[in-house]
C-alpha cells in the first residue's frame, strides 16, 4: 500500500480503527432534499458533533472547503461518481434505466484536498453491459488510487431488476467480495437489517474496514442508533450516516450520539436513556392509537410465553370506525385498597404486586379495577397485574405510534 494511502486512511479511521462518517452528497443524486439545501449551515452543526469524515460532491467540497480547515477538522471524502438509481417516484424525474458514470478523476480529488473517494458498485442490474461498465469504472479508480495514494471507498449495493426478496443478502456479500477483489480500501455497505447476516458480510470483506450506510432516516433517533449498535456488534468499523444526521433536529447532537456508540462502545438504549431507573407510569394518547393491538400481543408473549391478547395486562378498545384506545393500568391503587387479605402492595417501579400465597382468588380486585385491566388466570387461580416489565414496559417499547408512553415519576 502506498504510504499516502496509509496516512490518509488513518485520518479517517484513527486510533481505534473506527469511523463516523457523515454523507452529504445527496444533492447530486437526489436534488434539493431536506437538510442539504443550506449545506453550510447543516454541516457547521454536524461538525460540532465531531464526525471523523464528511462525504461531499466535488462542487460542494470546493465551496465549503473552509469547513475542513484546522487540525481537528473532519477528513474530506469526495463522491467520484453519479447515479440516477435512487431517484424513485418521490423525486422529480424518477429513473427509468439505471446509469452510473464517473464525475471526477483521482487527481481532481487530490487537488480538492480529499482524504478518500467514494464510488458505487451495483449488483443486480438487468443490463449486464451496464454492470461491466460499472466494474470497469471501479477498477480504473482502483488503479489510479493506487498510483496517487488515495484511499478508495467502494459502496457495493444490490440494485436493479435481478434483486429479489430472497437474494438480497447474497448480493450484498457478492458485491462486497467483488469490491474487495477490485482493490477497495474500505467499504460503505447497506445494513442487511440484522447483526447475524451483517457479520457474514463483514467477514466476506476479509479485513477491509466495513462501514454501514443508513439510507432513509428512522422514525425516532433510537431506530437509527440501534442500527449503529448492531453494526458494531457485527464487527463493522463504523457508520456512514446521511439523512439520519443531516435531517436530524440537532445534527451535531446526533453525531455525538453515534460517536458514543461507535467509539465508546455504548448501547443505543443507554445513549437515548430509555431504561428508567425510578418509578414510572404509562401514559396513553388515544388519538395516536391505530388499534393494531401489537402491545397486547407483546404483553402476553413477554409474560406468558405464548400469545393471547385477552390475557394481556392491558387492552385495546376497538371502536371502529371512530377510533381505538389502549387501556392500561394507571396505578390508581383501588385494587390494593379493596384486597381483603393484603395480598396486594406497591412494587418498586410504582406497579401493583401480588403476594400469591395471601391471595384467596376472591376477585375483588378484578371487579373493582376501573380500567378493567386485571386479568384472572384461571389455571393458576390468581389475578394478573401490570408489572411495568421491570422498568422497560414492552407495550410502550413496541408501540409504533407512541400511543403508550412511559412517564418518569419523581422519586
Amino acid at each position: 500500500m502506498q504510504i499516502g494511502k496509509r496516512l490518509r486512511l488513518k485520518r479517517i479511521f484513527g486510533e481505534d480503527g473506527r469511523a463516523v462518517v457523515v454523507a452529504a452528497d445527496h444533492g447530486l443524486m437526489l436534488g434539493p432534499i431536506r437538510g442539504v439545501v443550506n449545506l453550510r449551515e447543516t454541516l457547521t452543526r454536524v461538525i460540532q458533533g465531531g464526525p471523523d469524515a464528511i462525504l461531499l460532491t466535488p462542487g460542494q467540497a470546493s465551496s465549503l472547503i473552509d469547513l475542513f480547515y484546522g487540525k481537528d477538522a473532519p477528513a474530506l471524502l469526495v463522491r467520484a461518481d453519479w447515479t440516477n438509481a435512487f431517484r424513485d417516484k418521490t423525486y422529480t424525474l424518477p429513473a427509468r434505466v439505471i446509469r452510473d458514470v464517473d464525475t471526477v478523476r483521482v487527481e481532481d480529488a487530490l487537488a480538492l484536498g480529499a482524504t478518500g473517494i467514494v464510488v458505487y458498485l451495483f449488483m443486480g442490474l438487468g443490463d449486464e453491459d451496464e454492470e461491466a461498465r460499472n466494474i470497469e469504472m471501479v477498477s480504473v479508480f482502483s488503479r489510479e488510487c493506487e498510483k496517487q495514494g488515495m484511499p478508495l471507498i467502494v459502496e457495493p449495493l444490490p440494485m436493479g431488476e435481478r434483486v429479489t426478496k430472497a437474494n438480497y443478502v447474497d448480493l450484498v456479500a457478492l458485491s462486497v467480495k467483488i469490491a474487495a477483489e477490485l482493490g477497495a480500501d474500505a467499504l460503505k455497505v447497506p445494513y442487511t437489517g440484522d447483526p447475524y447476516t451483517f457479520e457474514k458480510v463483514v467477514k466476506t470483506a476479509g479485513g477491509i474496514p466495513v462501514l454501514a450506510l443508513g439510507g432513509y432516516s428512522g422514525v425516532t433517533v433510537r431506530d437509527s442508533l440501534e442500527v449503529v449498535e448492531e453494526v458494531m456488534q457485527a464487527g463493522g468499523s463504523g457508520i456512514v450516516y446521511g439523512r439520519n444526521i443531516v435531517q436530524a433536529q440537532d445534527p451535531g447532537e446526533m453525531v455525538r450520539l453515534v460517536r458514543s456508540i461507535v467509539h465508546e462502545g455504548r448501547s443505543a438504549l443507554e445513549v437515548v436513556g430509555a431504561a428508567k431507573k425510578g418509578r414510572i407510569s404509562l401514559r396513553v394518547e388515544p388519538a395516536l392509537c391505530v388499534g393494531c393491538s401489537l402491545c397486547a400481543a407483546v404483553c402476553s408473549l413477554y409474560h406468558d410465553g405464548s400469545i393471547d391478547i385477552g390475557r394481556a395486562r392491558l387492552r385495546v378498545l376497538q371502536e371502529w370506525p371512530s377510533g381505538a384506545k389502549p387501556v392500561v393500568c394507571v396505578q390508581c391503587g383501588k385494587c390494593i385498597s379493596v384486597c381483603p387479605t393484603g395480598a396486594l402492595k406497591w412494587g418498586s417501579k410504582g406497579n401493583v404486586e401480588l403476594e400469591e400465597k395471601l391471595c384467596t382468588s376472591c376477585m375483588a380486585c378484578v371487579e373493582t379495577c376501573p380500567q378493567k385491566v386485571i386479568v384472572f388466570d384461571e389455571k393458576r387461580n390468581i389475578p394478573l397485574f401490570c408489572d411495568l416489565c421491570g422498568g422497560v414496559p414492552q407495550c410502550s417499547e413496541w408501540c409504533g405510534t407512541a400511543a403508550i408512553r412511559i412517564v418518569e415519576e419523581d422519586a
Binding site: Y91, I98, A297
Partner: protein, 606 residues
C-alpha cells in the same frame, strides 16, 4: 419427522352446512412445510375439494378461510388471512387476501383454517369457537354489511366477523366479503359463493393462545422487522401519511394511470386525488390492521359519519377510470360498495366500460341515465343501482366480461383477464404489469406480480417500463414472493422494507419448521404457482386465456411517456412459460412438478 412447535394451531375445522356437521382435523405437517399456510395450504385444500368444472355456486364448491403461521403473532403486520374458493366470476382459482382481526380471531378460536362446504337451507350464520362450530339461523338476510356487523357486534363484542351484503345474497358475481373492521376480501366473487350457501356471516373467536416455538428468537426477529418498517421511507412515511394513494401522482406522471377505461394513461385531475388532498380533506384517522404500524388504512368523515377511507385502487376505479375527480363522490361510492358488498375495482371498471359503450354508441342510455365520463351524479346513481341490484344494476353486478358478451364488438375494451376486471396500472406503460395480469392465477391482479414498484415508482433502482427484456423473470420473482407472503400471514406492504430473510427468521423462530434458508421460501412460492396453474388447467384454461384485452395488444398508447407502445405479450409469455418450466401450452412439465414435490403431494389425496 417434521414437527410444528408454534405459530400454527395445528387444527383445521370443516363445516358442512347441508349436514350441519363440524369436523376438526389435524394440519398435515409435511404439507405445511411445503406450502406454509394461507394461500398455499388453502390452494391445496381447494384443489383436493374439487374435481374440475363444478358450478362455483353449487354446494360442492368450498369456501376456505386460511391463516398463516404468523397471523395473530407479534410479527409486525401479521394480520392476514386468505379466502379461497372457485370464483363464480372467472370459473377458476380464487384467493383473496384480507387484513383486519378476523384471521387472528379464527386462530384464537383454535383453527388455522376453516372450510365451509354444502349449503344451508335457510339464511344462517356460523359461530366458530374453541368448541367447534354451530350453525344458527340469521334474521339479518337482506340487511347491509355495516348494519349486520353492528347488530352482530352487540351479541359478539369480542369476535371477528365476516359478512356478505345484499349483493352477495343475490349472487352478484362481483360481490365480496367484509370484516367487522371494514377490510374486504373483495375480488372474484367470494360473496356470491357465501351467498349461494345462504351464509350471511361467520363469527369467530376464542381464548386459545398461540404458542411460539422460540419466544426469544421471535421477539428479536420481530423487533428487527419493526425497526426496518420504521427505517424505510414507504413504510415509515408514505403509507402512514398518505395511504396507498400516495403513488397516484407518480403513476400519472409515468403515463400509467388508466384513464377513461384505459383509453389513456394520464388524468388531468390526478392532483385533486393525491394523498395530501385526501389527508387535508376527508381523512380523519389512521387505521392499522392487527399488529400493523404502517397503518395505510384511513378513516374518513363523510356527511357527518365515519366511513372507511378508500384506497388507491378504489380511488382509481371510481376516479380517473370514470373521469371523476371529486373525493366525496369517490368516498360515497366506496361506502356504498362496502355496505352492499360489491368489489370496488370490479364495480368501477364495469361502469367505466358502460361509459365507453355509451361514448361509442353501443347504448343510448341506462334506465334513462346517460353515462358520460365524469358525470358524478349519474356515476353515483349507477353505483347505487349496482349495489341494490335495481334496473341496470343487475347488469353492472355481472362484471365486465358478462356485460361485454351482450355487445359484440366491445371485447377490445372490455377490461378484464379471465373474467376479472383490470386494476389501476396501464400495462402499455409498464409491460411487466401486463405479463403479470395475463399470468396471475386469479385473473387480472396488480398484486400478483407487482412489477409497478420497479417499472413506475423506481423502487430498487427502477426498470425500463417499456422493454420486454427480462420482464418474464421479474414477473415470476414477484409472483413467487407474493405467493409466499400471502401464505405467511404477513402483509405485502411490509416487504417494501423487509425481505424474505426477515420472514424466514420469524417463521423459523415462531414455528420451529426447519427451513434452511430464505430461498426455500421462494420455492414455496413457485410450488404454489404451479399448484394453482394445475387447478386452472383442470378447469379448462389454456394459453389463450393468458391474455389481455386487445386494446393493450393492438392499440398504441395515444399519448404520454409511453406514446406508441403496445404490449408484446406473446414473446414475454413464451419466455415466462420456459422459465417456469412449463411447455408452450402453459402446462407445467412433469420434471417441474417432480422437482417441486407436487406430483407426490397431489397423488396422496387427503
Amino acid at each position: 419427522m417434521l414437527k410444528m412447535k408454534g405459530g400454527y394451531t395445528g387444527r383445521v375445522l370443516s363445516f358442512d352446512l347441508s349436514l350441519e356437521k363440524a369436523k376438526v382435523g389435524d394440519l398435515n405437517e409435511k404439507e405445511a412445510f411445503l406450502l406454509l399456510g394461507g394461500k398455499g395450504l388453502g390452494a391445496l385444500l381447494l384443489y383436493r375439494s374439487l374435481r374440475g368444472k363444478e358450478d362455483p355456486l353449487s354446494p360442492e364448491n368450498p369456501l376456505i378461510v386460511s391463516t398463516g403461521p404468523l397471523t395473530g403473532t407479534i410479527a409486525p403486520t401479521g394480520t392476514k388471512f386468505s379466502v379461497l374458493t372457485k370464483s363464480p366470476q372467472t370459473g377458476v382459482f380464487l384467493d383473496s387476501n384480507c387484513g383486519g382481526m378476523f384471521g387472528v380471531q379464527l386462530k384464537r378460536a383454535g383453527y388455522d383454517m376453516l372450510i365451509v362446504k354444502g349449503a344451508a337451507e335457510e339464511p344462517s350464520m356460523l359461530i366458530v369457537d374453541e368448541n367447534g362450530a354451530e350453525l344458527r339461523p340469521c334474521r339479518l338476510w337482506g340487511v347491509t354489511t355495516f348494519e349486520t356487523i353492528a347488530e352482530l357486534k352487540k351479541e359478539f363484542p369480542n369476535r371477528g366477523i365476516l359478512v356478505i351484503g345484499p349483493a352477495g345474497e343475490r349472487l352478484a358475481p362481483i360481490s365480496g366479503l367484509l370484516t367487522d373492521d371494514a377490510r374486504s376480501a373483495g375480488r372474484g366473487g367470494s360473496g356470491a359463493v357465501m351467498g349461494s350457501k345462504r351464509l350471511k356471516a361467520i363469527v369467530a373467536g376464542g381464548r386459545r393462545p398461540i404458542e411460539v416455538y422460540d419466544a426469544e428468537g421471535m421477539k428479536r426477529a420481530a423487533w428487527v422487522v419493526r425497526r426496518m418498517l420504521r427505517l424505510h421511507e414507504v413504510t415509515a412515511r408514505s403509507l402512514p401519511r398518505h395511504g396507498t394513494v400516495n403513488i397516484i401522482e407518480a403513476v400519472n406522471e409515468m403515463g400509467a394511470l388508466p384513464t377513461r377505461n384505459f383509453q389513456k394513461g394520464r388524468f388531468d385531475g390526478a392532483g385533486e386525488l393525491s394523498g395530501e388532498k385526501w389527508r387535508s380533506g376527508l381523512w380523519r384517522r389512521d387505521k392499522g390492521c392487527y399488529g400493523c404500524t404502517i397503518r395505510c388504512g384511513k378513516i374518513a368523515v363523510l356527511n357527518g359519519s365515519w366511513v372507511d377511507g378508500p384506497d388507491y385502487e378504489t380511488i382509481w376505479a371510481f376516479g380517473p377510470n370514470c373521469g371523476i375527480k371529486d373525493t366525496k363522490t369517490i368516498a360515497m361510492a366506496n361506502y356504498l360498495c362496502d355496505d352492499y358488498g360489491l368489489d370496488t375495482i370490479s364495480t368501477g371498471v364495469t361502469i367505466s366500460f358502460l361509459m365507453e359503450l355509451y361514448e361509442k354508441g353501443f347504448i343510448q342510455d341506462l334506465d334513462g341515465l346517460k353515462p358520460m365520463w365524469g358525470d358524478e351524479d349519474v356515476f353515483l346513481k349507477l353505483v347505487e343501482k349496482a349495489c341494490k341490484g335495481e334496473g341496470c344494476g343487475r347488469m353492472i353486478e355481472q362484471g365486465v366480461a358478462r356485460v361485454s358478451g351482450k355487445f359484440p364488438g366491445s371485447e377490445a375494451f372490455a377490461m378484464h383477464v379471465k373474467g376479472l376486471e383490470m386494476p389501476a396500472y396501464e400495462p402499455r406503460a409498464a409491460k411487466g404489469m401486463g405479463l403479470g395480469y395475463a399470468t396471475s392465477d386469479r385473473g387480472a391482479c396488480h398484486l400478483r406480480g407487482y412489477t409497478a414498484g420497479q417499472e413506475l415508482l423506481g423502487y430498487g433502482g427502477g426498470v425500463d417500463p417499456y422493454t420486454i427484456e427480462g420482464k418474464a423473470r421479474l414477473v415470476i420473482d414477484r409472483q413467487d414472493e407474493k405467493a409466499v407472503i400471502d401464505s405467511s400471514g404477513l402483509c405485502f406492504f411490509a416487504f417494501y422494507a423487509i425481505t424474505l430473510k426477515e420472514l424466514h427468521r420469524m417463521i423459523v423462530a415462531c414455528t420451529g419448521l426447519p427451513y434452511k434458508d430464505w430461498y426455500e421460501l421462494m420455492r414455496i412460492g413457485e410450488r404454489i404457482y404451479n399448484l394453482t396453474r394445475l387447478f386452472n388447467i383442470r378447469e379448462g384454461l389454456t394459453r389463450k386465456d393468458d391474455t389481455l384485452p386487445s386494446r393493450f395488444l393492438k392499440e398504441p398508447m395515444p399519448e404520454g411517456p409511453g406514446k406508441g407502445q403496445v404490449v408484446e405479450l406473446e414473446q414475454m409469455l413464451s419466455e415466462y412459460y420456459r422459465l417456469r418450466g412449463w411447455n408452450e401450452k402453459g402446462e407445467p412439465k412433469k420434471e417441474t412438478l417432480d422437482s417441486l414435490g407436487l406430483n407426490e403431494l397431489l397423488k396422496t389425496n387427503e
